[in-house]
C-alpha cells in the first residue's frame, strides 16, 4: 500500500518535472527540472529494490551529467529561447500532435497486456544485497562488455578533448 502510493507520488513528480523541462523558456530552469526528474526516478528505483541503480542514478546522472549541462549552459550565456515564425509554429504544433498520437498508441498497447507473467523465483537464491548481485553477474558473464565500456569512456574523454580544442590549428585554450 505504502509502496504504491509512494510510487504514485514519485511518478507524478517525474512526469511533471519532465513536462516542465520541455516547456520552460529558460535553459537553466529546464536543467534544474531535469535534475528533479532524475531524483524522482531514483526514488522509484529504490522502491523497486534496485538500490545500486538508484544510487548510481543520483551520483552519475544528477551529480555529474547535469552538472556538466549546467556548466555548458551558463558558459554559453544564452538569451531566452525566442519562438517566432509560422514555420516554427507549424513544426511545434506537429510535434505536439505526434506526441499525443504516440501516447495514445502506447496506452492502447499497454491495455493489451503484451508482456509475460511473473516468473518463479530462481533456484539459486540471489545474494542478499542488490549490489552484490549485480557485481556477481557483471564480473562473470558481462566481463567483456565491462572492459569495453571502460574503453568507451576513455575514447569519449579523448574525443572531448580533441573536439573541444576547436578548429584553429595549434590553438591553445579558448580565451574567455
Amino acid at each position: 500500500m505504502i509502496v504504491e502510493s509512494l510510487f504514485a507520488a514519485f511518478a507524478a513528480v517525474a512526469l511533471c518535472s519532465g513536462l516542465m523541462v520541455i516547456l520552460h523558456r529558460n535553459a537553466v530552469t529546464s536543467a534544474l527540472f531535469l535534475v528533479l526528474a532524475f531524483c524522482a526516478l531514483a526514488g522509484i528505483y529504490l522502491l523497486m529494490g534496485a538500490e545500486f541503480v538508484g544510487m548510481v542514478q543520483i551520483i552519475v546522472y544528477a551529480g555529474a551529467i547535469m552538472v556538466l549541462f549546467l556548466f555548458v549552459i551558463m558558459y554559453l550565456n544564452l538569451k531566452h529561447d525566442v519562438e517566432t515564425g509560422v514555420q516554427v509554429a507549424v513544426r511545434r504544433g506537429l510535434g505536439w500532435i505526434l506526441g499525443a498520437v504516440l501516447l495514445t498508441e502506447g496506452a492502447l498497447l499497454l491495455r493489451r497486456g503484451w508482456f509475460p507473467g511473473p516468473v518463479a523465483a530462481p533456484a539459486v537464491p540471489p545474494p542478499a544485497g542488490n549490489t552484490e548481485a549485480i557485481g556477481e553477474v557483471l564480473f562473470t558473464r558481462y566481463l567483456f562488455p565491462f572492459e569495453v565500456i571502460a574503453m568507451v569512456l576513455l575514447v569519449a574523454m579523448v574525443g572531448v578533448i580533441v573536439v573541444g580544442k576547436g578548429l584553429r590549428p595549434g590553438a591553445g585554450e579558448e580565451e574567455r
Binding site: L103, F115, V119
Partner: protein, 100 residues
C-alpha cells in the same frame, strides 16, 4: 510489489515527453536534455522488467546504459560548444547548411 503496467505507463509517458521535447524545442541543449529523459525512460523499463522477471540482468543493462549516456553527453556537449563557436548560436533551425 509495483504492478508492471504502472511502471511501463510512467516510462511511456516520460519517453513521449522526451520525444516531444526533441521535436519542439529550438535550443540544442534542451533537445539534448530531452534525449536524456528518453534514455531514462528506457532505463526504467529495464529495471521494471528485471523486477518482474526476477532477473538481475535488467539492472546490469542499466549500468551500461548509464555509462554510455555519460560518454555521449560529454562528447555531445563538446560538439555543441564547438558549434556555438562557429555559428554564434545554439538554435538548431539556424544551422541549416545541409538544406537541399
Amino acid at each position: 510489489m509495483i504492478p508492471l503496467t504502472w511502471s511501463l505507463a510512467v516510462s511511456a509517458g516520460l519517453f513521449t515527453i522526451g520525444l516531444v521535447g526533441v521535436l519542439v524545442r529550438r535550443n540544442a541543449l534542451v533537445i539534448f536534455m530531452s534525449i536524456e529523459l528518453m534514455l531514462n525512460a528506457a532505463n526504467l523499463v529495464f529495471v521494471a522488467f528485471g523486477q518482474h522477471m526476477n532477473d538481475i540482468e535488467g539492472q546490469v543493462v542499466v549500468f551500461f546504459v548509464m555509462a554510455v549516456a555519460a560518454a555521449e553527453v560529454a562528447v555531445g556537449l563538446a560538439i555543441i560548444v564547438n558549434l556555438f563557436r562557429l555559428r554564434e548560436t545554439v538554435f538548431v533551425d539556424e544551422v541549416n547548411l545541409l538544406k537541399g
